[in-house]
């Protein structure tokens, strides 16, 4: 398989996964698009060898999360094109939930997304985000508490 085909395969397989993660962390569509692009560029640059598909996915998520972290550090303004403006919520309840999630600190948003959407354990999230498992558990615990307060106990 040549490089172009390999790239297309991996892009098609993971573009939405990485985009969703970047959106969850950054909350800004153009920045998330750039973060995803940078992640695939990193893949082209490093050409890593993966043990299996899960390793491949975790590596890409980690690179994307690192890129998002750099962008958050450099960010000096409120997100220009907010997530919900481009991808509206289907109903009021969902919108309320997403707005509540978007008010969480980025670290908590990342942990919430990787746990509740991607289904990773705290240990796996710790490896992806480069944090200690205890830190990830703390992020999730605080996020759940904050969401309960904002949504008055209901966030299914």
């Amino acid at each position: 398989m040549n490089e172009a085909n390999r790239l297309e395969e991996i892009v098609t397989k993971y573009e939405n996964t990485l985009f969703r993660e970047a959106l969850a962390i950054l909350g800004d569509v153009p920045e998330a698009e750039d973060a995803v692009q940078d992640a695939f560029l990193r893949y082209l640059e490093k050409r890593p060898e993966f043990r299996d598909g899960e390793h491949e996915k975790a590596w890409l998520l980690k690179v994307t999360a690192n890129g998002c972290k750099s962008r958050l550090r450099a960010r000096k303004r409120h997100p220009a094109v907010e997530l919900l403006d481009v991808y509206p919520a289907p109903d009021a309840g969902c919108r309320e939930l997403l707005e509540a999630v978007l008010t969480l600190p980025a670290n908590q948003r990342a942990a919430v997304h990787l746990h509740y959407y991607e289904g990773y354990t705290t240990d796996e999230i710790a490896r992806i985000l480069g944090q200690r498992p205890g830190t990830v558990r703390s992020h999730l615990s605080r996020a759940r508490e904050a969401l309960r307060r904002q949504l008055k106990g209901e966030f299914g």
Binding site: E8, F19, L44, R73, K76, P90, R127
Partner: protein, 336 residues
């Protein structure tokens, strides 16, 4: 969180982004400018010939922009004037993985901006640990301190470049071959909320004291040099303060293996100090040859040790820093 999951399932990249992603062709280096927010390949200063010492870099290899103090945006130069000297820079187009901001040093009206590497830190998954010694059999050693640190940096501004401020208390050991050639050094410093250990070896990488079960960790590349970086490999307690943000990084540049282990309370500050350390090690270089052998004495040589060859020991918790000194991290006591 079913609604969250359902919502995210509906989010997909646009056809335009998909097209763009499938057409990516290779490394594109993003340069982060904390101060100017603009894309640039390098920064040069109009300083006047002789005002600053030249770095090791060949000026002809460097693209130029000029930035004067107070300018919000860098100004493009068509070609460097004779008086322009670039300092603290790497050859253009070879920044490695990516850069992440930098720092500025101002001298009079001139501001020099130094790009820093964006370092990927791995969380260690240790399965065993190993003792190692920096001292070859038959070597000489002496105590080392602040003067040696200054010598290693060639007299450069250590606070400005490395955030090694004056309140750091330095100690350590320097090793020499029996002909007086410096071969290794270990330096410790504590103060201002950090504790750091610097190890250097001539001609080889500084050994790792911990063996990891998973060897597939990422390295960072900066100016063609690979950096291995770990996050939170341990913690330290200094003056009763727990320093739980720790980083350890190592590289081999300019013929010298360098390793920094740093403990602090502020992860961002610790990582900034790490980035500055590797930038210095790679771009400027530590001058091990500047250490003087005066005052050194023969080291007790463990016939079982040799430079760079660890003695594997299951369950050991800290490296032996040469046969005469030991560094250990106090056991964490939550009730202290």
């Amino acid at each position: 969180m079913k609604r969250y999951k359902k919502y995210m399932d509906s989010v997909e990249v646009s056809p335009e982004l998909h097209q763009k992603l499938t057409e990516l062709t290779g490394p594109k280096r993003a340069v982060g400018w904390k101060k100017y927010g603009a894309m640039a390949a390098a920064l040069a200063l109009v300083v006047g010939a002789g005002a600053f010492g030249l770095s090791r870099m060949d000026r002809d290899d460097i693209l130029y922009e000029t930035a004067e103090r107070g300018d919000p945006e860098p100004v493009q130069c068509a070609a460097p004037a004779e008086s322009e000297i670039a300092i603290g820079l790497a050859p253009a187009g070879d920044w490695g993985n990516q850069t992440d901001g930098g720092y500025e040093i101002v001298s009079g009206e001139i501001a020099a901006y130094y790009l820093l590497p964006a370092i990927v830190y791995n969380e260690p998954d240790s399965s065993s640990s190993a003792d190692y010694s920096l001292a070859p059999p038959g070597s000489l050693s002496r105590a080392a301190g602040l003067d040696d640190v200054k010598a290693l940096l060639g007299g450069a501004d250590m606070a400005g470049h490395l955030l090694w401020t004056e309140d750091l208390d330095w100690s350590g050991t320097a090793w020499f071959l029996d002909d007086g050639t410096p071969c290794a050094a270990t330096l410790w410093a504590e103060g201002n909320g950090v504790s750091l250990v610097i190890e250097m070896m001539a001609g080889s990488e500084v050994p790792s004291c911990v063996v990891y079960s998973d060897n597939c960790y990422e390295t960072t590349e900066f100016c063609g040099v690979e950096i291995t970086a770990l996050k939170n490999p341990g913690w330290a307690v200094v003056d009763g303060v727990e320093l739980r943000e720790s980083r350890q990084l190592s590289c081999f540049a300019g013929g010298i293996g360098c390793k920094l282990t740093i403990y602090g309370v502020d992860g961002e500050r610790v990582e900034n100090m790490c980035a500055r350390f590797v930038r210095w090690a790679i771009v400027e270089g530590f001058d091990l040859s500047a250490l003087t052998v005066d005052g050194s004495a023969p080291v007790y040589a463990d016939p079982g040790c040799s430079v760079g060859e660890p003695n594997w020991e299951e369950g050991a918790s800290s490296p032996s820093q040469g046969p005469q000194e030991e560094v250990s991290t106090p056991a964490y006591d939550p009730n202290a």
